[in-house]
């Protein structure tokens, strides 16, 4: 009897395994099955995006822009102006224009004819109210208007006719990029709300292009507003926001047509998505900033600029970006700016030069020899005083692109004769190491934003060195009085020509002293289909990224008949 049952289970198990193996290739897709076309071709009937709220397990509704878990952050309340993260152009939005009347007074001219979704008009008083709310409740001051982050605090905000006038107590030009992101709130609704951070906003009254259709805790349905101030530019009739996807699920949903766009991580997007349909499936990974190799400048020998120069020359950036990003992202410019998009920020002395460092092991070894890092008997280089040199590269476990980059860097270092090794740690431990300055080398992100003082500047400013409690931008601890002077001046400078000159000085420091080594550009992703809508930002038309979804919605049009 025992033998019989054994004989029976054997073939059963084999059949099960074979069956699953056979099924593995055939994922159900419905290409084009979901494309609901409209009759006249002038509207986009429906688009489906991933949910804006990260993981709303509890299904809570809250459109309050101050909440950490906002159900929709882009489509109800609108910012004062929009700065395109690609070409740094300031696009008029709720404010049609801005001007610095003098060094400490900023004036916004507010657009006429904007209405709230309850029909009332949007006035400059609403804008002044929104900004003054942050004075009354510091927890709401996410833009740093009333404190001294990146500039002097504001003294007063007042509506004056069709303008809003902000007076600062000192130089505050670097606050501009944050300031314009403030979402304008309707005074007649929010004045009775008390502390805005504690307010649960379930029926939002906003100036944005959509009305709340329905929300069942998972699926947000938005319908187009007829009385939106630029309704003629909004062709999307209905927007569905649903689901949080990881890379595999997102690729499957995009391929099946259940999702129209995605901006999370999909490694190797060419193979996972675009190759499935060359005509409809597209992706554009715009450079948002650079991933940089940061040295702990408080630890010898990393305070030696010659060592840093040598290492920078000996890193194979093409290989690094191939392994980390499947060559989707390009090697980064050593200036710290994202080129060629930010070319207008680059001073003339550098515009013709190639600012991406070439890969030259021979030159690197030459520089190392000249700087006194001779090779010892074991083939590895020692410090100038003869002691051993075995630096560790600290990298976050689970961040596979960082880990891939770290492997290549360490290999390059070993080729140059430096006995380097990778040290993997959980992300929280790496953050703690950055706060305690307990690392040799690590990877960091250098934002390629338009306010150079806040991005490149804060990477090099001594007041941005991480403290015991907070990780700030200057993880490498570059502390130089001259740099601080430049950054301070740049923070207060409002004249573009003078800004360019000051940026040039920072670029000079980057190119000659290598406080950090720029490796490859970090992406702002846009993975999308063009069967229901066209007009997405792309390499040919780089007008924005996934940080400006509101602007993108006004540029989407139905696909052309061809």
């Amino acid at each position: 009897m025992k033998r019989r049952t054994l004989l029976a289970t054997g073939p059963l198990a084999a059949a099960l395994v074979a069956g699953t193996a056979a099924c593995s290739g055939q994922i159900r897709t419905n290409q084009g099955g979901g494309a609901a076309t409209s009759g006249d071709g002038t509207t986009i009937p429906q688009l489906t995006f991933p949910a804006e709220v990260a993981e709303n397990v509890a299904g809570i509704t809250n459109f309050n822009p101050f909440s950490p878990n906002v159900t929709s952050k882009n489509y109800f309340y609108e910012p004062i102006m929009i700065r395109s993260s690609m070409n740094c152009e300031v696009v008029p939005w709720i404010a049609t224009a801005f001007a610095w009347k003098d060094d400490t007074t900023l004036v916004f001219t507010i657009r006429d004819g904007v209405t709230w979704s309850d029909g009332k008009p949007l006035t400059p008083e609403d804008v002044a109210f929104t900004l003054n709310l942050r004075k009354q409740y510091p927890a709401a001051d996410d833009i740093g208007l009333w404190n001294d982050v990146f500039g002097a605090p504001a003294e007063s905000v007042e509506a004056d006719g069709q303008d809003v006038v902000i007076s600062f107590s000192g130089l505050a030009a670097a606050k501009f990029d944050s300031l314009i992101t403030a979402k304008v709130l309707p005074q007649h609704v929010w004045k009775d709300a008390g502390d805005p951070t504690q307010y649960i906003d379930e029926k939002p009254v906003g100036s944005g292009p959509f009305d709340l259709g329905s929300y069942n805790g998972r699926r947000l349905q938005l319908t187009r507003r007829e009385d939106y101030w630029q309704a003629d530019k909004v062709k999307v009739q209905e927007l569905i926001l649903e689901g949080n996807y990881d890379a595999t699920n997102a690729a499957l949903k995009l391929t099946a047509g259940d999702l129209d766009a995605f901006w999370g991580e999909i490694p190797n997007p060419e193979q996972a998505f675009a190759s499935k349909d060359e005509k409809l499936n597209h992706f554009w990974y715009a450079p948002a900033g650079s991933t940089v190799l940061t040295y702990n400048l408080t630890k010898a020998p990393f305070d030696d600029a010659k060592l840093r120069e040598a290492i920078s020359q000996g890193l194979d950036k093409d290989e690094i970006s191939a392994k980390a990003t499947y060559s989707v992202m390009k090697p980064a410019s050593q200036t710290g700016l994202k080129l060629p998009y930010a070319e207008n920020l680059l001073p003339d002395s550098y515009t013709d030069q190639e600012t991406v460092l070439p890969f030259d092991t021979a030159k690197a070894e030459e520089l190392l020899d000249a700087a006194g890092y001779a090779k010892g008997s074991d083939g590895f280089r020692t410090l100038p005083d003869g002691s051993a040199f075995a630096p560790t590269f600290l990298v976050q476990a689970g961040w596979i692109d960082y880990q891939a980059a770290a492997d290549v860097v360490v290999r390059n270092l070993q080729t140059m004769g430096i006995n380097a090794s990778v040290q993997t740690s959980p992300p929280e431990a790496v953050d703690q190491a950055k706060k305690d300055a307990d690392f040799d080398m690590c990877l960091e992100y250098l934002h390629g934003g338009c306010e150079v003082a806040r991005n490149l500047g804060s990477k090099l400013a001594s007041d941005q060195v991480p403290t015991k409690d907070t990780v700030k931008a200057n993880v490498g601890r570059w502390e130089d009085a001259h740099t601080d002077e430049i950054v301070a001046e740049l923070s207060g400078e409002t004249d573009p020509e003078k800004q360019k000159a000051l940026t040039g000085e920072l670029v000079e420091i980057m190119m000659t002293q290598y406080p950090v080594t720029c490796l490859f550009y970090a992406p702002a992703r846009m993975i999308y289909r063009t069967d229901k809508a066209e007009g997405w930002p792309s390499e040919e038309d780089p007008y924005g990224t996934n940080s400006e979804m509101l602007m993108i919605i006004t540029r989407l049009v139905p696909p052309s008949a061809s």
């Binding site: 159900r28 809570i60 909440s67 996410d142 740093g144 990146f150």
Partner: protein, 328 residues
């Protein structure tokens, strides 16, 4: 009487220890919730704005007083039933957040647990009665094999085959397009989404009960009193039900009580795989986001649930089995 009093005493002591540890352990971890939250909202490769982190810190409120004062404040809040605000769902309260996920887990895990128990004990009883028959072999071998499978592996397998390849069931969530409430559309939607998670639980659930019931019953069937009953001519069915099965059921019933207590923790792996909006999923989200208030409340519920269930099981045993009362 002493038996019950002693049990209640142990219960209260363990409860106090659990509450204290529950307070201490999250606070020993490094990591700043405000910073973590801004990182999570902004994403990995974005500008860290110190103004936003500072604003978030003010919003969440820094606890004041030293550790002991915070502990006393914590005990006071517990007594009032105030679990504070959740960090990730700010400004919703923890009770509100848990309340929304509670029913999903209770229904899914509760129903499947009871059904698994019934199925498992029935199968185990029959397998013991007809021991060494083909039925017994299949049940025992089958249970042992299924018992070695990992729950998340089975979940992924079912998800892949029935969700992606065949497309018979939805691949994520507790519901989709319907509005939650007591309407037929929503209930059908919820049932459709619960089929796969329930299938995984029903597949893996009965295993423990089957083997436990079978083994206890075989042990009982070898006892002298069964032999006496047979000699006296008691019909087979009565021996099986009134004596052997009923006595073998005792350990299983207490096991069921303890398993029911564990429901409040949800089935984390299965709920995460299916993105099912229950307590397990909530716990996973709270743990990765360092949402201390929510995490503490969930852990507390799990601990209290298990302790209460343990107490009930102990009491039940005292009621059902006179020998336990005598021994105490």
């Amino acid at each position: 009487m002493k038996y019950f009093l002693r049990r209640i005493g142990y219960f209260l002591l363990t409860l106090w220890a659990a509450i204290t540890l529950n307070f201490l352990i999250p606070r020993l971890q490094p990591g700043d919730p405000a910073e973590l939250m801004i990182r999570q909202i902004s994403g990995r490769d974005t500008e860290i704005d110190p103004a936003r982190i500072e604003a978030m810190r003010v919003m969440l409120g820094q606890p004041d007083g030293n550790l002991f004062e915070q502990y006393l404040a914590y005990l006071g809040q517990l007594a009032r039933g105030d679990f504070g605000y959740s960090y990730t769902y700010f400004p919703a309260t923890v009770t509100d957040v848990i309340g929304r996920a509670l029913l999903w887990t209770l229904v899914l895990v509760g129903v499947t647990l009871v059904l698994s128990f019934v199925l498992g004990t029935v199968l185990g009883a029959f397998a013991a009665w007809w021991r060494n028959s083909p039925f017994d072999s299949i049940v025992t071998l089958g249970s042992t094999f299924v018992g070695t499978l990992q729950s998340f592996w089975v979940a992924l397998l079912l998800l892949f085959v029935f969700g992606y390849v065949l497309g018979w069931f939805p691949t994520a969530g507790g519901y989709e397009a319907s509005m939650p409430g007591l309407n037929l559309e929503f209930l059908l939607d919820a049932v459709r989404h619960s089929v796969l998670p329930a299938a995984v639980l029903m597949l893996l659930g009965p295993v423990g009960w089957v083997l436990g019931m079978r083994n206890t019953m075989i042990l009982n069937l070898g006892e002298d009193y069964i032999r006496l009953a047979r000699a006296k001519g008691v019909p087979d069915k009565q021996i099986a039900l009134r004596y052997a099965a009923r006595n073998a059921l005792l350990p299983s019933v207490t096991g069921l009580a303890m398993a029911l207590g564990g429901i409040l923790g949800g089935q984390i792996l299965i709920e995460t795989t299916f993105d099912y909006p229950g307590l397990g999923r909530l716990m996973q989200q709270a743990a990765s986001g360092k949402d201390y208030p929510l995490l503490q409340a969930l852990l507390l519920f799990t601990i209290v649930g298990t302790l209460v269930a343990n107490l009930v099981a102990d009491m039940l045993y005292g009621v059902l089995d006179p020998r336990a009362r005598k021994a105490a």
